[in-house]
Assembly symmetry: C2
Homo-oligomer: 221 residues x 2
């Protein structure tokens, strides 16, 4: 007997899994505000479920770091302090650095072309000073590199951490000079990938994220 699911559709996922994603979105979108309690009753009514699967979801979100459990007082949305970001962003950097090394080894030529093309568009968005487009392409590039690494556990773990600093990473205003520098770093990243320079790409990505950290730090202070 095997669990292989050739249809992929007959059994729908457990409610708690669905709820984990939905509640996480509420936190990321800021509807559930940091420092506030997670309103169990409201959420069960909103999603039309009982407390059991919701509480399972909250346990998982606590493990991801989105909420903090307080014994006998439920869960509180974890605050997004600068300290939090200083903790998380270096981890994202280490993971993206590894992703770069793996991507340099495992990426398909199509992956590389795709990232190269995205990098060209990133440059165009910078030249046009089009921030929303820039951020969106930037995000696509980082996602594509993680994807190209071909390591599912890395992909999942990165996603968890990246989501926690999503706003800081993509909504922090960056200075003109840092913006230019970041664009140039992305071009070097695309080159290292095309050259399949694993070590170099890993190093470039770690530095890129480290610069990003510096930029956020100065913006928030």
């Amino acid at each position: 007997m095997t669990f292989a699911d050739t249809t992929g559709k007959l059994a729908r996922p457990a409610l708690s899994v669905e709820l984990t994603d939905r509640v996480r979105e509420l936190i990321m979108e800021g509807e559930l505000k940091e420092g506030h309690k997670v309103p169990e009753r409201y959420l069960t009514e909103r999603f039309g479920v009982s407390r059991t699967p919701l509480r399972e979801a909250i346990k998982v979100l606590a493990h991801e770091g989105f909420v903090v459990l307080v014994p006998n007082r439920g869960a509180v949305v974890a605050p997004q302090s600068l300290d939090e970001i200083e903790e998380i962003l270096p981890i994202v950097g280490a993971l993206e650095g590894l992703a770069g090394e793996l991507a340099a080894q495992h990426a398909s030529d199509a992956d590389i072309r795709n990232i190269s093309r995205l990098t060209d568009r990133l440059r165009e968005a910078f030249e046009a000073r089009d921030r929303p487009t820039y951020f969106q392409i930037n995000q696509s590039i980082h996602a594509a590199i993680i994807q190209a690494a071909g390591n599912p556990a890395l992909l999942r773990n990165h996603a968890t951490f990246a989501r926690r600093i999503y706003r800081a990473r993509y909504q922090a205003n960056l200075s003109e000079s840092r913006w230019k520098e970041a664009t140039e770093e992305h071009e070097k990243i695309a080159e290292a990938l095309a050259a399949r320079d694993a070590k170099g790409l890993g190093e470039l990505l770690r530095e890129h994220l480290s610069h990003k950290m510096r930029s956020i730090r100065s913006a928030l202070k």
Copy 2:
């Protein structure tokens, strides 16, 4: 109103948190065998709890990757294939590399002396060809470096991944030549830390783990 807990003892942690640790131990010790179902009924009776907190624990373990949820068929202990290890160990390497960089910056002088002393004892255990002691000290050194990094999120995340490959990492027999090499690497690691060479230490740790991966791969093939 604040949640500060000056006593740290009055409220005991939720059952589900306790159960997460207990069940994880059962998996790590091999009592719950990979590929087998997680026996809900047996575990509730063994621990004297109801299914509710146990199932919350299982959800968290699924998120950690120790078990896999199968809709309407409960949870299965995740297999420890070579593929799994090939996925996880590089992530541990990236995290330890970061830990090294941070430790080089933030470690106290006492931390450094402690790790240096442990490294001396590691050398002695190698000279005596005392594998159990070597493995135990080895583990202490890696744990001390992560600790010294002073990043709680990194500590937690590393622990989760490290536990998943615990057996492979510390019980895989290593060859005489690799053993010698690993011991020497540890001495370089201690030196780089003493010199507070962040980049160098990060690089050394990433390489150390990468060699470990190679050693496990050849042992399991």
